[in-house]
């Protein structure tokens, strides 16, 4: 992938995020912007859909937080990603209750239907697949979530149907 440059992104969005967190150019106001790094990244990701590296470089220059520190945090937490995500995010639970009730079959069905593995996005940029430690919906196990909708008590076949339904809607 050719290196993207800052000019491709609307940096006023990042400016807005910094402002909302109360950051100002004045270094002497005692505000600890580095301490707010996680909410900062969360809001940037919300605004851009992911964390574009050029934006991170810009934010680093602006705030003085080293990009090394940013990447340290980004790679540590499963929530952050530096590549664009698909239009829909499908999350499969790999928690204990789901595992005990055959969650692996659901995961296999979804991966084979979409043709992508954990953490990948389909080539048409429609679907991203994520495995989640536990969705906390164990009573519904095995469970999967598409965007913010929970699908409980799945079977491999129903999981496939749910995915297919989204695929058709997009076609």
């Amino acid at each position: 992938m050719a290196a993207a440059s800052e000019t491709e992104f609307d940096l006023s969005v990042a400016e807005g995020v910094l402002a909302r967190l109360g950051w100002t150019d004045r270094r002497d106001d005692g505000r600890d912007i580095a301490g707010q790094l996680i909410p900062l990244l969360q809001q940037l990701q919300d605004a851009y859909g992911y964390l574009p590296p050029p934006v991170l470089t810009w934010v680093s220059r602006r705030t003085g937080i080293p990009t090394s520190r940013m990447y340290g945090v980004i790679t540590f937490y499963s929530q952050f990603y530096t590549e664009p995500h698909g239009k829909h995010t499908i999350r499969c639970c790999r928690g204990t209750a789901c595992h005990v009730r055959g969650g692996k079959k659901i995961i296999n069905a979804v991966t084979s239907t979409l043709g992508v593995e954990d953490g990948e996005t389909t080539e048409d940029m429609l679907f991203s697949l994520e495995m989640v430690a536990c969705l906390g919906a164990c009573a519904l196990s095995p469970v999967m979530v598409v965007d913010n909708t929970y699908y409980g008590k799945m079977t491999a076949r129903r999981a496939e149907q749910v995915v297919q339904q989204f695929v058709q809607e997009e076609a």
């Binding site: 929530q79 209750a97 430690a133 906390g136 164990c138 009573a139 076949r157």
Partner: protein, 1039 residues
């Protein structure tokens, strides 16, 4: 409502609200928890609102979306107030009926009610549903009642009274004393006393202190914190205000998982409301106390549940823990004194302040006070959130509240405490659970995740699952955790893949000890717990994976082609022959079975069918009737009498002692590999227990004979009336190998007074004498003692022999009886009386003959090693049962007379063998069947004979190759059939009135139509696996 500027203003408002609470108000409460939302509660809510509008009653009846009711399994859950009528699984189309009948006319709609799976009774009111009735809901008391984001609703139900009381009437030290004396322990996992923790933070020097509510509930399988925050966020906020006041904190943070959007949203709204009402911020209700709370969303890292890692995360760093001390109470967030409590802990605090420590102390056990919320999930009927007093037993939680295990499968273990905890096996079902007792048995209370596992859960797979989880979540800071868990995962993965090595278990244990003792934080220190506890209680399952490549639960993919075939001790290719039956290719089906099992007629009738217990069709509706299909194929195949291979010829180098299923199978499989043998049988007829143990109404003589004839046709020499005096002598006679399959034909004695009276006959003697046509006097009133198949066979035989009444006396209950359930059912239908919970004390006689038996009543006590409850005698409950015949059927003993001075024996159980080969301690001598196990199933004996045949062939220079399995039926059910609920077929039975006085077979076999349809239900797991293997290969090729 404005801002409360004084305590009085708040109390006035509170009183006003609470006075307007109308206990007779008509309210429709709909659960708005994540579970019910997923099942469609938002649409149900809309439907109710529309319907009320339509009927013009919208002003009289209100609709309220509440927090989680806990019974997620049955969502969407609707409760109609004030009557408390409870409707589970409510669908939009049910709404008009509910409004018309229940809401307006106060009628209960029968067909929408909850049906208790245990009693099949319909239950109308929520407090009568066993799931709720047996709980003590304190923290959850308001969850199904309140609108989570309605502050007044919370205040009306005594909300914020505790906070205002603490702030206005108590000093911080008094608050700390109250909570400490109440005995509240941290609900996040470790169980540290909350009051003590507060005390540390209060005493720590510094004027800036922080209070953190840990809602980073990352423990897979726990979801109570989510539910509490979603349902009653104000209760958590109130707990935080009290805690902050106690320790002197002015700033609070709720650290909540981003994966919990509803919890984040409700908490955010509740904070806003509390702030607007003056319950947060500067000068709270005019008391002069300042405190505010912000929300931080966790970015997805399990380790951030650890205090120091959580603090690092709050500070915008990688969530890595650090060494303690200094403890967060002295140096926490931003280096300031910080107190971190879990959501559930904080939600308990207002209750303690409001109701007092004495009240709180009265709930729970000596060392653990109050209630605990468990997230009940996994293989249990009623999944959901369960709040019970500390000290409740696992049996009460899993069986009384949880409704037991689906499909009546066996409870294997419960995983408590998630990846940091351990498994609790069946023997501890009656242990009173609190922090300390759970720790003693190698698990932890943890946050309260409780995953139930049944017999179809593989314990090694579970251990691998947890290690994989912690390995992924290990932050990587310290080597023991980062590298140690990696090595443990590698070993566990290879065991599950069938590549385990001898010594792996020991290496796992050593690594586990190292990781435990040398890791920096709680994650690493507890990560090996699931492995250690599963090895501790289920070491045999690890060994089976390593040595026999066998996964008893049929879970580990690399080992299992199809669960049914894997579960069969004889390794019969079940899906293949079922597919052939569906295509009406019966001869081929029979031949597929015969590659691994010569006793088709027998196993088609009396097999305990372990295959059916693993059948995946059960996940759709019910397991396939595999046993009935097997019988159908054999009974209806046109020409299957001839041998599978030409009869073996040549010198007979193998002697087989005993012609039961083990011995004849061994002879048969040797013949398939070209080796003839001689089978010695002491009795006049062959078949062992099959002919002298199982009565003809279950296994007709001609069916058994057909199987034996078939075996003999392979060049097997059968010598009846040929008693082998000594096994060692056979070796001297020139037999290069000997297989012992002498069975277990001796009954166990009762060891009570009167056993020598005339009329006391052991059940095995009784059944054998009858089968051989020896003189046998059957009593008029027969008492059979025991609960196994021999007991039921004896009882049903006695009835057929003309006994006027037959009783089965059993010391436990029907549920614990080892006999097949369908046999018990038929015995009862035939008029046999079952007396549960009674044990014999002495047999009473007159003139040397039995006249009765003195019994004592029993009750069920705590679990034994298998999880069955031990019978305990009830003092002073003796009574006499009159009878003229007593038949003890309490167990059997291996027949080992011919073995004196030869192979190694365990006196009370049987011959000692290598499980994989059947080899005994004496060279060239093998053994299998009941003489090894002391009494097992037919198909287990067949499998043992088969294994020994393979080992003998190899010993004698052969390849040990059984005829290859060929894939010939590719028939699969259609996609539509996969979804349809198709009930399992049942075999027709002989009418009950025709059974007395006759030994005619009871089960009548399937009709062609029924058999074909039944076989068509098979999911063909074997083909599915083939396909996925092929797909994987294709992917590899493409890459």
């Amino acid at each position: 409502m404005g801002r409360f500027v004084s305590v009085k203003a708040f109390l006035d408002h509170q009183q006003q609200l609470s006075a307007t609470l109308d206990p007779n108000a008509k309210i429709i409460t709909i659960c708005g928890g994540t579970g019910c939302t997923a099942f469609g509660s938002p649409n149900v809510r809309k439907a109710f609102e529309t319907e009320l509008e339509k009927r013009g009653v919208a002003t009289d009846v209100s609709v309220k979306v509440t927090g989680c009711h806990g019974f997620c399994e049955k969502g969407p859950v609707v409760v109609i107030l004030p009557s408390k009528v409870f409707y589970p699984n409510v669908q939009v189309e049910d709404v008009p009926r509910i409004v018309e009948k229940t809401v307006i006319n106060n009628e209960v709609i029968d067909e929408l009610l909850y049906v208790d799976p245990a009693t099949k009774q319909k239950i109308a009111y929520d407090h009568e549903v066993p799931f709720y009735a047996k709980q003590t809901r304190l923290v959850f008391r308001l969850n199904g009642l309140l609108d989570p984001i309605d502050l007044d609703d919370y205040i009306a139900h005594d909300g914020y009274l505790a906070a205002v009381k603490a702030l206005s009437e108590m000093t911080p030290d008094q608050v700390i004393d109250e909570v400490r004396d109440a005995g509240l322990r941290g609900r996040g996992g470790a169980g540290f006393p909350a009051g003590v923790k507060w005390g540390f933070c209060r005493k720590a020097p510094g004027d800036e202190k922080y209070l953190v509510c840990n809602a980073d509930e990352g423990d897979p399988g726990a979801f109570m914190d989510r539910s509490v925050l979603e349902g009653t966020p104000h209760a958590v906020i109130e707990g935080m205000i009290i805690a902050a006041y106690a320790i002197g904190a002015s700033h609070g943070i709720v650290y909540v998982r981003a994966e919990y959007p509803l919890a984040v949203c409700n908490t955010r709204v509740a904070l806003e409301q509390a702030r607007d009402a003056g319950l947060l911020g500067k000068n709270i209700v005019g008391t002069g106390f300042d405190f505010d709370i912000e929300i931080r969303e966790g970015a997805g890292a399990f380790v951030c549940g650890e205090e120091t890692a959580l603090i690092a995360s709050l500070e915008g760093k990688r969530g890595m823990p650090r060494a303690r001390p200094p403890f967060p109470a002295n140096e926490g967030y931003r280096g300031k004194p910080t107190n971190i409590n879990n959501v559930e802990t904080l939600a308990n605090v207002p209750l303690i302040i409001l109701k007092g420590k004495e009240w709180y102390q009265s709930i729970g056990t000596e060392g653990s006070k109050g209630t605990k919320i468990f997230a009940l999930a996994g293989k249990v009927n009623n999944t959901g959130l369960v709040e019970v007093p500390m000290g409740t037993t696992l049996r009460e939680i899993v069986f009384d509240i949880g409704g037991g295990i689906p499909k009546n499968r066996k409870f294997k273990a419960a995983q408590m405490g998630g990846p940091s905890g351990g498994c609790v096996p069946a023997q501890f079902l009656d242990l009173a659970i609190d922090y300390d007792s759970v720790q003693q048995i190698g698990a932890i209370m943890g946050s309260g995740g409780l995953i139930v596992m049944d017999e179809n859960t593989c314990i090694v797979d579970i251990a691998r699952f947890f290690i994989e989880f912690v390995q992924k979540e290990s932050c990587g800071k310290c080597v023991p955790c980062r590298v140690g868990t990696r090595h443990m995962l590698d070993i566990l993965t290879r065991i599950c893949d069938g590549d385990g090595r001898v010594g792996d278990i020991e290496q796992l244990e050593e690594l586990a000890r190292m990781v435990k003792s040398a890791s920096l934080c709680g994650l690493g220190q507890t990560a090996p717990n699931p492995v250690l506890s599963t090895i501790r209680y289920f070491r045999n399952e690890y060994e089976e994976h390593i040595r026999e490549k066998w996964c008893r639960a049929s879970v580990c993919e690399a080992l299992v082609e199809a669960p049914c075939a894997h579960a069969c001790p004889a390794g019969v290719n079940v899906p293949q022959y079922v597919g052939l039956i569906a295509e009406n290719r019966l001869e081929e089906a029979v031949n597929v079975i015969r590659r691994r099992n010569p006793f088709i007629s027998v196993c088609g009738r009396v097999c305990d069918a372990p295959c059916e217990r693993r059948c995946r069709r059960a996940d759709v509706d019910e397991p396939l009737a595999i046993r009935a299909l097997k019988r159908y194929a054999m009974d209806n195949a046109a020409d299957v009498a001839g041998p599978l291979v030409p009869p073996a010829s040549g010198k007979k180098e193998v002697a087989i002692v005993g012609s039961g299923p083990a011995g004849l199978s061994c002879a048969y499989f040797l013949a398939l590999m070209g080796r003839p043998s001689v089978v010695f049988e002491t009795l006049s007829i062959p078949g062992g227990m099959l002919s002298v143990g199982i009565p003809e109404y279950r296994l007709p003589k001609q069916s058994l004979q057909a199987d034996i004839d078939y075996i003999v046709s392979h060049g097997v020499e059968l010598r009846t009336n040929a008693c082998v005096e000594n096994v060692a002598a056979l070796r001297k006679e020139g037999y290069k190998a000997v297989f012992i399959g002498t069975g277990a034909h001796h009954g166990r004695a009762l060891r009570i007074e009167g056993e020598d009276l005339d009329g006391v006959v052991d059940s095995l003697v009784f059944l054998r004498s009858r089968a051989l046509g020896e003189p046998l006097r059957c009593g008029k009133r027969v008492a059979v003692i025991g609960g196994g198949n021999a007991a039921v066979d004896t009882a049903r035989s006695a009835l057929r022999l003309g006994a006027e009444s037959v009783l089965i006396l059993y010391r436990r209950t029907r549920e614990e009886m080892p006999a097949y359930e369908e046999e018990i059912e038929e015995a009862l239908r035939e008029g046999i009386e079952l007396h549960e919970l009674v044990a014999p004390k002495r047999i009473i006689g007159a003139d040397g003959r039995v006249t009765g038996i003195e019994m004592v009543r029993m009750r069920l006590g705590d679990a034994d090693e298998s999880g069955r409850r031990r019978p305990v005698p009830i003092e002073g409950s003796k009574f006499v049962v009159e009878c003229d015949m007593v038949v003890p059927a309490i167990g059997q003993r291996a027949s080992t007379e011919a073995l004196a001075g030869t192979v190694k024996l365990i006196p009370s159980s049987g011959i000692v063998v290598d499980k994989a080969t059947g080899a005994t301690s004496m060279e060239g001598v093998f053994a299998g069947g009941d003489c090894v196990s002391g009494g097992e199933t037919v198909v287990a004996a067949i499998g043992a004979g088969q294994k020994a045949a393979v080992a003998i062939d190899r010993m004698l220079g052969g390849s040990g190759m059984l005829p290859a399995d060929v894939q010939i039926s590719m028939r699969r059910p259609s996609e539509d059939d996969l979804e349809k609920i198709l009930p399992r077929v049942e075999e027709p039975m002989l009418a009950v009135e025709q059974r007395r006085g006759s030994f005619a077979e009871v089960l009548c076999g399937l009709t062609p139509g029924a058999a074909c349809a039944e076989a068509g239900r098979c999911l063909r797991c074997d083909l599915e696996r083939l396909e996925s293997l092929a797909a994987r290969e294709k992917v590899t090729e493409n890459e």
